[in-house]
């Protein structure tokens, strides 16, 4: 066999190996034309702010008959609320106020407001897609407003830069005040805290209501941007959304609620097979 074809064959193998290591072929399977791909959030977390107060002595010496506080000390907010499953977020507010029984009112209130954040790994994205849809499926809802359509006021982008975890020796020299660290990176990454500087709201494309509080939001343009950022996938491997509820005012005499638990996914319509 002449050496030339063998060289070409070797170069082709090398190129294939490089593509596998560096390029989109890091995926273990090819995306297929005409099918959908659904990815789950790599991170789904819900944060809340809350306030509560009480006056248990308004009726003294009679005992107050209010609902007792729960273990968290935040108030009876957790009653009937299921725990969040993987991939679920909670968004919206719930206010509780009990004035007690007249004429000597022992009042108690608690108020909470949830924000939900769902983040997806860049490496999970398909490489060619026709459309990307953020799917918000309401699994539970709690509302005092029968006309309410959505629990969130706005959606914000989230782009995360992880920081590498490291171990190592740290020496401090009291003479010079200098600290010397000999760090060894572990190859693991910690997720930075949710960015509270939310910036301008994200405006999705088409929005389709699929059921009570459930929506499909076109996020094709944004997801394409994430894909363009593919070379930086190890710098910014997580992109996603934070949903902010309508009311974060934590009032002290309200019994309103508009709170929804969502199962969140990102759906892609594939338009071209992977290479």
């Amino acid at each position: 066999m002449r050496p030339w074809p063998r060289l070409l064959q070797s170069l082709a193998w090398l190129a294939g190996g490089l593509l596998a290591a560096l390029g989109p072929a890091a995926h273990t399977h090819a995306d297929t034309v005409g099918v959908q791909k659904t990815i789950m959030p790599f991170v789904a977390q819900s944060t809340f702010i809350a306030a509560s107060d009480f006056s248990f002595w308004s009726c003294f010496p009679a005992t107050c008959d209010n609902v007792v506080f729960d273990d968290t000390g935040v108030g009876p907010r957790s009653a009937g609320e299921p725990a969040l499953a993987d991939g679920q977020i909670r968004v919206g507010f719930k206010h509780f106020y009990d004035s007690g029984t007249r004429p000597c009112n022992c009042w108690v209130y608690s108020a909470e407001a949830y924000r939900g954040t769902a983040l997806f790994r860049t490496r999970d994205l398909p490489h060619h897609f026709k459309s990307a849809t953020l799917v918000l499926t309401a699994t539970t809802s709690n509302t005092s407003d029968p006309n309410a359509k959505t629990p969130f006021l706005a959606i914000f982008r989230q782009d995360f830069v992880p920081y590498p975890l490291a171990i190592g020796d740290v020496q401090f020299d009291p003479a010079t005040g200098r600290t010397t660290a000999n760090l060894q990176h572990l190859g693991l990454f910690a997720i930075a805290p949710v960015d509270t500087d939310l910036g301008p709201p994200f405006i999705p494309g088409k929005i389709v209501e699929t059921g009570p509080f459930s929506f499909r939001l076109d996020v094709t343009a944004l997801a394409n941007g994430w894909l363009q950022d593919w070379p930086k996938r190890n710098l910014t491997p997580l992109h996603g959304f934070t949903l902010v509820g309508f009311d974060e005012s934590l009032p002290n005499q309200s019994n309103n609620a508009l709170q929804v638990t969502y199962a969140v996914t990102l759906e892609f319509d594939i338009d071209d097979p992977d290479f």
């Binding site: 509560s52 107060d53 009480f54 006056s55 248990f56 002595w57 308004s58 009726c59 003294f60 010496p61 009679a62 005992t63 107050c64 008959d65 209010n66 609902v67 007792v68 506080f69 729960d70 273990d71 968290t72 000390g73 009876p76 957790s78 009653a79 009937g80 609320e81 106020y97 009990d98 004035s99 029984t101 007249r102 004429p103 000597c104 009112n105 009042w107 209130y109 002290n252 005499q253 309200s254 019994n255």
Partner: protein
């Protein structure tokens, strides 16, 4: 302080019979603030029988009934918490607001008084509590002069109409606690969280009240 006086109602009645014979002379020259101070001292000592001497005749039965229900509810809350701790092998909560209702009043003193009429005086009582609250809670009582005596009238006991809903709610809260405690002992809850959710849910369902336009 805080010793249970359950079952003392009959004794209280006997004390009242005896006390009424001497009360006219004892209270004739006292001022409303003095009566309030004496009443507060007995209440803080958890001595309902002694306290009942200082309340108006028509509210005495309601006063004793409310205090008795309050004692039973407190005991049922404590028992329920202990049952949860034991059943679910939890460490008793410490330093949390979950214990807030069990906090106690250490003292009550007259902070202000207003004469509504020659026979009616309003008294603002400043409370000192085991867990200091700033500003100190203030409750308002009334002193009524009848037959030359000043007696205390609590807002919750001012009339049967005032006392009835509070008594009903305390009884309902008591029943709910006993029911949930029974469910815990029968192993009907998988976790302490489930038990607490059932407790709070039942109370909220029973005590669903409209929100008044009132600033706490």
């Amino acid at each position: 302080m805080n010793k249970s006086r359950r079952g003392y109602a009959p004794l209280a009645a006997l004390v009242l019979v005896g006390a009424s014979a001497v009360s006219t002379a004892a209270f004739a020259q006292t001022m409303p603030a003095d009566v309030a101070a004496s009443f507060a001292k007995a209440v803080v000592a958890h001595d309902w029988a002694a306290a009942a001497i200082y309340v108006t005749d028509r509210s005495r039965a309601d006063f004793l009934s409310l205090m008795g229900l309050g004692d039973r509810l407190k005991k049922s809350r404590d028992d329920l918490q202990a049952a949860m701790d034991q059943k679910f092998k939890r460490q008793p909560a410490r330093g949390s607001q979950a214990n807030a209702p069990a906090d106690a009043v250490l003292a009550a003193e007259v902070a202000a008084q207003r004469e509504i009429s020659p026979t009616v005086v309003e008294l603002d009582m400043r409370l000192s509590t085991t867990r200091p609250i700033d500003p100190a809670p203030i409750v308002t009582w009334r002193a009524l002069q009848t037959a030359g005596e000043w007696k205390i009238e609590l807002p919750a006991c001012a009339s049967p109409e005032a006392a009835t809903p509070l008594k009903q709610h305390l009884q309902a809260a008591l029943d709910i606690h006993l029911k949930v405690a029974g469910s815990i002992s029968r192993g009907e809850f998988a976790s302490a969280a489930d038990a607490r959710t059932a407790l709070i849910g039942a109370q909220r369902a029973a005590f669903s009240r409209p929100t008044p336009m009132r600033q706490p």
